[in-house]
């Protein structure tokens, strides 16, 4: 995309697609749109774009990187952009899209269970192996390589995998 052309024709849906298409730095096979992090994209009368995102975990180290990546993507489209984070309503894994679930499974990550009211953990529910779909799986720990995941092993195909924990 060229930054030199005037962008009079860009509508808000096109801008939103740019924001939602930014890869998650920790899970590069899914976008922040797939994860349901994009709360809103607004075009101000002066042409400035305001992208509003929800952080996932309080301590997610990717949050600052995501801010920079979204700003860079909009800048590359020739847009004057501002990226804001809002805490409320809090992000939930229920906002991960169906496309996100499919992509997670393809990457060997079991997608999250429905979060319910979010105040109880869902880590003891049955988990299907994302590779062979067997339900004979065993949890190895409560936390994986990132806070959002827990390590599992499949007793059927013997492959290790991770569960995206309901939050």
């Amino acid at each position: 995309m060229s930054g030199s052309e005037p962008t009079v024709a860009l509508d808000v849906e096109a801008v939103r697609a740019i924001v939602e298409g930014v890869d998650d730095p920790e899970l590069p096979h899914v976008t922040i749109g797939d994860l349901g992090m994009v709360r809103g994209v607004e075009l101000l009368p002066d042409g400035q774009v305001v992208a509003t995102l929800t952080p996932t975990y309080s301590g997610c180290p990717a949050t600052d990187q995501i801010r920079d990546d979204v700003a860079a993507a909009l800048d590359a489209a020739g847009l004057d952009a501002r990226v804001e984070f809002v805490l409320s309503p809090p992000w939930t894994t229920d906002w991960v899209t169906p496309a996100g679930h499919t992509k997670l499974r393809a990457a060997g990550i079991a997608p999250p269970h429905a979060a319910g009211d979010g105040h109880e953990t869902r880590i003891d529910l049955p988990v299907a192996c994302p590779r062979c779909s067997s339900r004979r799986t065993r949890r190895l720990g409560d936390f994986g390589a990132t806070a959002c995941k827990a390590p599992f092993v499949c007793e059927a195909c013997r492959e290790p995998f991770e569960l995206f924990k309901a939050l």
Partner: protein, 275 residues
């Protein structure tokens, strides 16, 4: 982390609100720092990952709280000049790196040394059993920012409590040696639990306005969680005599100064550095 809400509360509320928010931020950060000392020393790799992730959640919570503290501290009009030295800017780093150890108001429980794994996980459990009902209560705080922070933290804390409680039960009701170590740990740490529920003018004033959680209600839930967990773990509940206090007023143990010194050393050696 920016939020679009700016405090509009009257000034008399602001000073107690600042004190209150810093207490919570300090509790989270100091516990996280202790946990991180243990990374690469856990009994198994999965536990290293778990404790590092719990610490990361706690650091995230303290960042949100310190950022809010900076907004309260600066007041409705005040921004500190952008070219002020980094030690004067009221951002999250100010509260973490540029306050002396005696300015930290964390409860004594969270600064207790890691010791063996029994001590570490018992300390974590006694804290998590407090943090879970605390953040649950704070989701209905009349302070919008604190309620928003709580709505995130309550979900993360549910996983922390599940993890630490599970270890207390397994080790307490485990081998003779694990049971013995767990009883030693609970006996040693119990004296620091009373401070979690201390009342003072700050807590009472803010609780009356619906900003803060009521300590008495929290203690009731905490007692139930601890009693049922210790029973399941076949551990004896220690007596409540000789509770220690002082963290809230900056009176910490000797080891606390080393903890803060290590945490602040890089920021103070390279003021204004960014990474």
């Amino acid at each position: 982390m920016p939020t679009d809400t700016h405090p509009t509360a009257p000034t008399d509320l602001d000073s107690t609100l600042l004190t209150y928010v810093l207490r919570q931020g300090d509790r989270s950060l100091v516990l996280a720092q202790r946990l991180l000392e243990n990374v690469a020393h856990s009994p198994e790799l999965e536990e290293d990952m778990a404790l590092a992730n719990v610490a990361l959640d706690l650091i995230g919570q303290s960042r949100l709280l310190y950022t809010y503290a900076g907004q309260v501290d600066a007041g409705p009009t005040g921004e500190v000049a952008a070219d002020a030295p980094s030690s004067d800017r009221l951002d999250e780093n100010h509260y973490a790196y540029w306050r002396p150890d005696t300015a930290f108001t964390s409860p004594l429980l969270v600064e207790q040394p890691n010791g063996d794994f029994a001590h570490l996980i018992t300390r974590q459990f006694l804290h998590d059993a407090f943090a879970a009902p605390y953040w649950q209560a704070m989701t209905t705080s009349t302070d919008e920012t604190l309620a928003a922070i709580a709505a995130k933290a309550v979900k993360e804390t549910a996983y922390h409590l599940r993890h630490s409680r599970g270890w207390v039960v397994r080790l307490g009701d485990g081998t003779d040696e694990s049971h013995r170590r767990m009883q030693v740990a609970i006996d040693a740490l119990w004296r620091f639990t009373g401070e979690l529920f201390e009342r003072d003018d700050v807590e009472d004033g803010l609780a009356q306005r619906g900003v803060a959680a009521d300590p008495t209600s929290l203690e009731r839930v905490w007692q139930e969680t601890v009693a049922s967990t210790l029973a399941e773990a076949t551990l004896d509940r220690p007596s409540d005599e000789h509770m220690r206090t002082g963290g809230r007023h900056g009176r910490h143990s000797e080891g606390f100064s080393y903890l803060i010194g290590e945490m602040q050393s890089v920021a103070r050696a390279h003021p204004g550095a960014s990474w």
